[in-house]
Amino acid sequence: MRDDQPPGSDITPESLYLRRREFLKNAGLFLGTAAGVAGGLLLLSGRRPGSITSAVPDAGAVAQPVVKAAGEFDTLEPRTLYEDITTYNNFYELGLDKADPARLAHLLKPRPWTVTLDGEVHEPRTVDIDQLLSWFPPEERVYRMRCVEGWSMVIPWLGFPLSALLAKVKPTSHARYVSFTTLMDPEQLPGQQRAVLDWPYTEGLRLDEALHPLTFMAMGLYGRQLPAQNGAPLRLVVPWKYGFKGGKSIVRISLTRTQPFTTWNMAAPEEYGFYANVNPAVPHPRWSQATERRIGDLGRRPTLPFNGYAEQVAHLYAGMDLRKNY
């Protein structure tokens, strides 16, 4: 030891040494508390790490539709990103949060699957989904989709017109409505384990609406098989109505004499009508319907009557008061 080396007590006075320990202790408590508060708030608010899946499993390509120029029903507006269409979903059977359906999609098994066609038809039957799909050449339709919550998308669906399917079973002269039923299976659709809505989800259309050439059964999007969160293997798309009219993962299509019960209409009749035509003039009690945000846009755009399909469908409602029949 060299002589000029000062004793250790001179280098760090004891009081400072103790304060250093206190400082370290306080710093540790500071970090722990800050992390605890931040972590607690993040957990509560649903920004759970990994809650938003950016990786969407590729559902696989299906038989490509004949490439064609934009048809008479196709919008030329920019298409919403595949990733957004498949990660931002209202499908309460797969969870209430919009990120839940993509997260839980693996639970829903779209094969084997059968669809029952019955009610007021001459040829009722239950068919395997692949057989049903083989009846129709896939066709692409680029439709606007407007949700009652005030957001919208542009989606290139793959499927066939519902009228073609109804022609297969030959509705009787008594048929006036069509009802659609979603799969009821709380194992595959865990949201059905809670009575948030009256399961299974049912939707309905008037027969003339169902036969309209715009009314579409989708089995894919962007040229790929429909992902479960979007209603695999078969869903209804009615582009001039709010999105909730489009029943997902359909197992039964029934023709009826009377207006069928529909899920949201039963849950809150003053908020969700049977018709649910997109109508900027009739506000929802909690949402103005005058404007909408296209997913991917920052601002809002005006909502068009019948979601921009008035020219094709307005005549279906001639003489009806659409403020009452919302």
């Binding site: 500071f30 708030l41 009690p285 949402w287 997913i295 809002r300």
Partner: protein, 208 residues
Amino acid sequence: MASSPHPWLNPAVTVGGLVPLVLMAVQGPLGGLGPNAIEASLNDTGLIALVLLVASLACTPLRIVTGWTWPARVRRTLGLLAFTYACSHALTYVVLDQGLSLPALLESLGERPFIFVGFAALMSMVPLAVTSTNAWVRRLGFPRWQRLHRLAYVAAVLGVVHFAWRVKKDLTEPLLYGAVLALLFALRVGEAMRKRRARAASAARNPA
């Protein structure tokens, strides 16, 4: 000078409490909040504002029940954080969601009760934030200041109503916060009654 017993507590709560807001501001433009970042920010800022407000209201009952003193030390920080989130929530709605469109905003306030209730909740927090300093406690005198700050309960109840009205179907979460508020309120009422009885008993023992 005697340092406060937990010098790290308020800085830590402030920093930790602001982390979600900073994350949102960073993640939103990068796509980390999902396809509808505005909706996600509205939901998250609103929920966090309510949670922090309820937490600030839990401080006094927690002190009563446990005898700890630290909850009272973070009450103001929690309240101001709640106000920060409530303001961010309102600004997100006014600026990003409605694009500062005055007609759309007036229509929301006039025709959608849940928005009016949310607005009322925010307004009832403004006097609390303004008078949150020690100088204001002195200026008003503690009893008056304390009476004014009972508005925090009004703000929280309005917040729960706003939330419940907004939810499309599942009321579980808003009802949970409502139940916590009711419990906190019951604890305070119980404590007030206990104090009153104690005062009455001592008055009876010492007649003037």
